[in-house]
């Protein structure tokens, strides 16, 4: 009896095994279906969504070539071709237009008391040298920079492609080389004038409230120190913009020294935005220093200014200078006629 049961068990067990074996056929054997060997691989769409840049591994030393696709290049293209051109045109042409309007309505600011004929030193030779080094570099840097953005649209139609390339190539070299003296000048200027451009709250706010004498009651001359609030704003703007432009510029001039293509795109964005704003600010500065104001240019051109000009525009500075340089102005004690001990 046990053998019969045992044999029955064996047979059932075997049948079960066979049944299991039969049902355990691979699905592929049933009908032709595709097995995708790359099912676990990534897709382009997926990578772009996740990381916005597709980076892999290459076999050459050029590490930046391992980036397979960076669609941000299209966005940067749009910024440079469209956005920057609009911003640059609006800012620069806008400031130019405002200057023209101001000059036509207000005219040149005159020394109301007339020239006294007496002069006082305002800027030393050192200050003037630094300023003019920066100014000369700035003009060429600005023009060569504008050439990159606007040259193709404005200059190329006026000359042959070869001539325009020669011009642009030399503009590029000038831009790259003059960036060094400009940065040196910027640093020197900072140390030279930073202390004198620190805000003097009461005086500066008063000066600003009265529109600096430019926008307000006619003939108003709010007091100011060596630098008025407007000049102080300009100074710190130059330090900020110049610094940003210098840092981003050096990243651009030493490409891919620790930066990747996205860093470079951002460096160019920062560089160009600050640069066009800087150019606009300098147009206003140059206007004021040349045709906008009688007696202004000589301060930087020769270093000395007329005393009446100083009285009207920098009265506090004039007082300080006078008390500093002439503490021994004729006083009873020192008059030779009085016999002293």
């Amino acid at each position: 009896m046990t053998t019969l049961l045992a044999r029955l068990r064996n047979v059932v067990g075997a049948l079960m095994l066979i049944a299991a074996a039969m049902s355990w056929q691979p699905a592929a054997a049933q009908q032709p279906s595709s097995v995708d060997p790359n099912a676990s691989a990534v897709s382009e769409e997926q990578l772009l969504q996740q990381m916005h840049t597709i980076r892999g591994l290459g076999s050459i030393p050029d590490v930046k070539s391992y980036t397979l696709e960076q669609p941000q290049g299209q966005e940067w293209r749009h910024y440079h071709e469209v956005t920057l051109r609009w911003i640059g045109a609006i800012v620069i042409l806008g400031v130019l237009a405002l200057l023209v309007v101001y000059y036509v309505t207000h005219g040149k600011m005159r020394i109301e008391g007339g020239r006294s004929g007496r002069k006082i030193l305002r800027f030393t030779a050192y200050e003037r040298s630094v300023h003019w080094m920066m100014a000369a570099c700035f003009v060429i840097l600005g023009l060569s920079g504008l050439n990159i953005t606007f040259g193709r649209a404005l200059l190329l139609p006026l000359m042959s492609p070869e001539a325009y390339t020669a011009l642009s190539e030399w503009a590029k070299y000038a831009h790259n080389f003059l960036s060094f003296p400009f940065t040196v000048g910027l640093v020197l200027m900072f140390f030279m004038w930073a202390v004198q451009n620190l805000p003097a709250k009461k005086v500066d706010i008063e000066w600003l409230k009265r529109g600096g004498g430019m926008f307000g009651k006619k003939g108003d001359h709010p007091p100011a120190g060596k630098f008025n609030a407007g000049e102080k704003i300009l100074f710190w703007s130059i330090c900020l913009a110049g610094g940003a432009i210098a840092v981003s510029g050096y990243l651009l001039i030493f490409p891919f020294y620790g930066t990747d293509v996205h860093n470079m795109q951002w460096a160019e964005v920062v560089h160009s935005i600050f640069a066009v704003c800087f150019i606009a600010a300098m147009l206003a500065h140059i206007y004021l220093g040349t045709i906008g104001m009688e007696g202004a240019f000589e301060s930087m051109g020769e270093g000395t200014v007329d005393v009446n000009w100083a009285k009207e525009h920098h009265s506090l500075w004039l007082e300080e200078e006078r008390s500093r340089t002439a503490p021994s102005s004729p006083s009873p004690r020192q008059r030779p006629a009085t016999s002293g001990d």
Partner: protein, 198 residues
């Protein structure tokens, strides 16, 4: 007229770099310049995938748009070429290119770039076709001889296809249908604003 395109079948590329070698040889590309390269994603892991990449000769090429000296031009075959005489080496085309195609020799001070070099679809440059002057600057002009780029011709698995966009899209579609899978035409959406629906 044919609209030339590249298509790298990422499911077939075995990272043999025959395309890279063929390009360097055919065009006498100098050291340090790599017109075509093979990039491997997920190297060593399951789902490793390799793609061969050079200039895609985009529709509305961003390099052409940003060039400050207008050094680029598009031929009748939609191949994007440039003139090394006009190029000033400013580097903007590299910032704009989604595929990193432009290469620059380091010839100047600081990181100053020399004239840009890139894949020309083996179509040379603005110099007269198949002259030594053209070859020296831009490499081979196979298109003028009625041939296709050597990278695609030398591809060991025919992963890299080059030629008329419609023709190679058709080839790729047939492949995908036959084998049942396909990861798509890498770079087509960015370069040509179209995908291959298989």
């Amino acid at each position: 007229m044919a609209r030339m395109k590249f298509l790298c079948d990422a499911d077939r590329c075995i990272e043999c770099n025959a395309c890279t070698t063929a390009c360097k040889n055919e065009n006498e590309v100098p050291w340090g310049i790599n017109r075509r390269r093979v990039i491997t994603l997920n190297d060593g892991k399951p789902g490793e995938r390799s793609v061969s990449m050079a200039c895609m000769h985009c529709t509305d090429a961003p390099c052409q748009a940003v060039c400050p000296v207008n050094a680029f031009y598009t031929t009748a075959d939609a191949v994007v070429l440039h003139s090394k005489d006009i190029c000033i080496g400013c580097g903007y085309c590299f910032y704009a290119c989604p595929f990193g195609a432009p290469q620059y020799p380091r010839v100047g001070n600081f990181g100053t770039r020399g004239k840009m070099d890139k894949c020309t679809f083996c179509a040379g440059g603005p110099e007269p076709n198949n002259t030594p002057a053209q070859y020296e600057k831009y490499g081979a002009d196979r298109l003028a001889e009625g041939k296709l780029p050597l990278c695609a011709e030398m591809c060991s698995t025919k992963a890299l296809l080059a030629g008329d966009g419609d023709v190679i899209a058709q080839i790729y579609k047939e492949r995908v249908v036959k084998r049942g899978y396909g990861s798509g035409a890498w770079g087509w959406k960015t370069a040509y604003r179209e995908t291959i629906t298989s």
